[in-house]
């Protein structure tokens, strides 16, 4: 199979000359086998300070109760649930890349799936910490589980979306972890077989004794495919259930049937933006330009503009239904997003999520790394405001004007949010130091079929039709990692 050439019309998934199996291993394991550089230390120290802030703020919350937050009797959910939904949403891209793109046989996922999955796991950890701290009494965190208890087993209410959420998030986290770790085994074994001494012992334990025999690989492939098959509906179900936390209430702005697909699209949207934010930096710092190419960046930008537009259509349907329903509370909620005291949050939501990503229709912008990175941050900000708008703006002015109130975050709210970003980056930076950030085994599959050098060989041998060769060379122009001079003579 490995000798089958892919159509020349497809853009290469690996660029660079002399990419051998050995070089892939060396390139990917470079950060794992060497001492970290200055950029990593600076990033790590800043992130670790954020994580410490998070630890302090969460401990403060546990000690004093959630009265430490800016919540009041009108706005009972604010930054906590905003942060929770934001992080869960970000987590979705990892599973989407690793599972859905695997089912669709999108080979460009091979070089980004590992770090995207790691990102999923860390994002879900951040989300889970929000849930636990929002409980107020986290030592009672086992209450939503159906355990026999002192009331002669009064069970939990399985009709409640909050209980569904407990099952959905914990299943999602554990299945993602398993999926990620099974994929890591061959790569950990590669580190093990190159290492010596204590490192070898540690990676030996982590590798579970992987040896890469025929039967192991055969079962590995089956397991990956089936895990992808079950993870795909799982990831859709998770954000559907998160959206039902809101949609099954009777709150104007929440009580909306479009919420499940709208939340899922938003989750993919924000998740890809976060993958873009991380990978554009990672590829530069770790020197992975040949593996995470302009094609990958452009593809992700295309998904961002697609899902951003789906989110835009969902926003429009919400407006239409609010007007069409004739319910004045519902109508007020949506007007309030532009005319109320939180008009700036509403503008951030619609501006960052719907208008800004439309710039990605332009190829110049899609293939510009600096602009792509800035826009990915804009999307992240926009998606945070989306959750803030949905949660706080629906609560702060609902039915009774006498109980209308504003929400003001305290330093604890802000510290937990900023700190959770620090926690996320601490985990991610540790990950790229100790584990291979690119799935080597899967990238090796591309060397003989879809790498730049294999296609160049075909060109040099004159096995390609002229017009196809021209088309291919033209498509290479956007790549920053391709030596354009090599293609002038063709």
């Amino acid at each position: 199979m490995s000798s089958h050439h892919e159509s020349i019309l497809r853009e290469p998934l690996i660029t660079g000359k002399n990419i051998t199996y050995a070089k892939i291993t060396d390139d990917v394991l470079m950060p794992v086998e060497n001492k970290p550089n200055k950029a990593w230390w600076i990033g790590f120290i800043v992130a670790a300070m954020g994580a410490c802030l998070w630890l302090f703020a969460v401990s403060y919350t546990f000690w004093n109760g959630i009265g430490a937050w800016g919540l009041n009797k009108t706005v009972g959910w604010a930054w906590d649930i905003t942060g929770f939904v934001w992080w869960v949403g970000i987590g979705h891209a990892g599973t989407l890349i690793s599972a859905v793109l695997l089912l669709f046989r999108q080979n460009w996922r091979n070089s980004i799936n590992r770090s995207a999955e790691a990102m999923t796991i860390f994002a879900v950890i951040c989300a889970a910490t929000y849930v636990v701290s929002h409980m107020g009494r986290p030592w009672l965190a086992y209450w939503p589980l159906p355990l026999p208890n002192q009331f002669g087993s009064l069970w939990v209410n399985f009709n409640s979306p909050l209980v569904w959420d407990v099952f959905a998030i914990s299943t999602y986290f554990s299945v993602s972890l398993v999926f990620w770790y099974v994929g890591l085994l061959p790569d950990i074994a590669a580190i093990r077989d190159r290492a010596t001494g204590l490192r070898r012992r540690i990676y030996s334990i982590l590798s579970f004794g992987w040896n890469g025999s025929v039967k192991t690989w055969q079962r590995f492939e089956t397991v990956s495919l089936i895990l992808a098959g079950v993870a795909t509906p799982l990831v859709l179900s998770v954000h559907t259930i998160v959206s039902m936390d809101f949609a099954t209430s009777l709150e104007p702005g929440w009580h909306t049937t479009i919420f499940p697909p709208y939340f899922v699209a938003g989750a993919i949207f924000s998740g890809f933006a976060m993958v873009q934010t991380l990978l554009l930096v990672t590829r530069k710092v770790l020197g992975l330009e040949n593996y995470i190419t302009m094609f990958h960046i452009e593809s992700m930008n295309k998904i961002i503009v697609l899902t951003g537009s789906i989110v835009g259509v969902a926003y429009l349907s919400e407006f239409f239904i609010a007007w069409y329903s004739g319910v004045e509370y519902e109508q007020y909620t949506f007007l309030h997003r532009f005319t109320g005291p939180y008009w700036w949050a509403g503008s951030m939501m619609y501006g960052c999520n719907v208008l800004m990503p439309q710039l990605f229709w332009f190829k110049k912008i899609r293939t510009n790394i600096a602009i792509s990175w800035c826009l990915s941050i804009v999307v992240n900000i926009g998606m945070w405001f989306e959750r803030f708008v949905i949660i706080v703006l629906s609560l702060n002015r609902d039915y009774l004007p006498s109980s209308w109130a504003m929400f003001y975050p305290t330093w604890v709210d802000i510290s937990i949010f900023v700190g959770s970003i620090g926690l996320f980056f601490t985990l991610f930076l540790l990950f790229i130091r100790v584990l291979p950030s690119v799935a080597m085994a899967e990238v090796r599959l591309l060397v003989k079929t879809s790498s730049e050098q294999s296609k160049k060989k075909l060109l040099d041998e004159g096995k390609v039709k002229n017009e196809e060769a021209e088309y291919y060379v033209e498509s290479l122009e956007k790549f920053d990692s391709v030596q354009q001079a090599d293609y002038v003579k063709i």
């Binding site: 299945v175 077989d193 579970f208 079962r219 090796r444």
Partner: protein
Amino acid sequence: MSSIKYILGLFEDPDEMMHGIDKLQENNISIYDVFTPMPIHGIDKKLGVKRSRLDIVAFICGITGTLTGFSMIYFMLVMDWPMNIGGKPNFAIPDFIPITFELTVLFCAFGMVAAFFFRNHLFPGRAPRVMELRATADRFVIAIDANKGFDPSKVDNLLKEAGAVEIKHNDRKYVSYE
């Protein structure tokens, strides 16, 4: 008999390795195993390795999860402690679906991966049984059991003809033990 236990043919290129397998099979030399740094499609058919039955395991585990989830909720909400929630029916099947689904996925994933680890003897701390250290990085390795009575020089020649970059005569099975 010499002390050689295994003959290893190391290839740089997966296609040449596949060619090597053909060569050996033409000469009726049985292959002990093949170790590769990436999955090779079609190799299982060539070596006569039976298809994996993990998909059946996955289905059985998944359906167990479905039944567990549904019957658990049924027992708790309908039989053991029915609650009057606004006069609505206790046996509200649509409300049972999300958790039933989640448990299906959970059981399927964990059951299948556990079966995979069990069958391939993968568990944390297991001593790696590796015949060639580069087989996880950049070498595609065909291993031949030397005690099966094949002429070692003939095996060597066949491997070399197919394009092996290195041939090793190992006097112990696993090189990974210290």
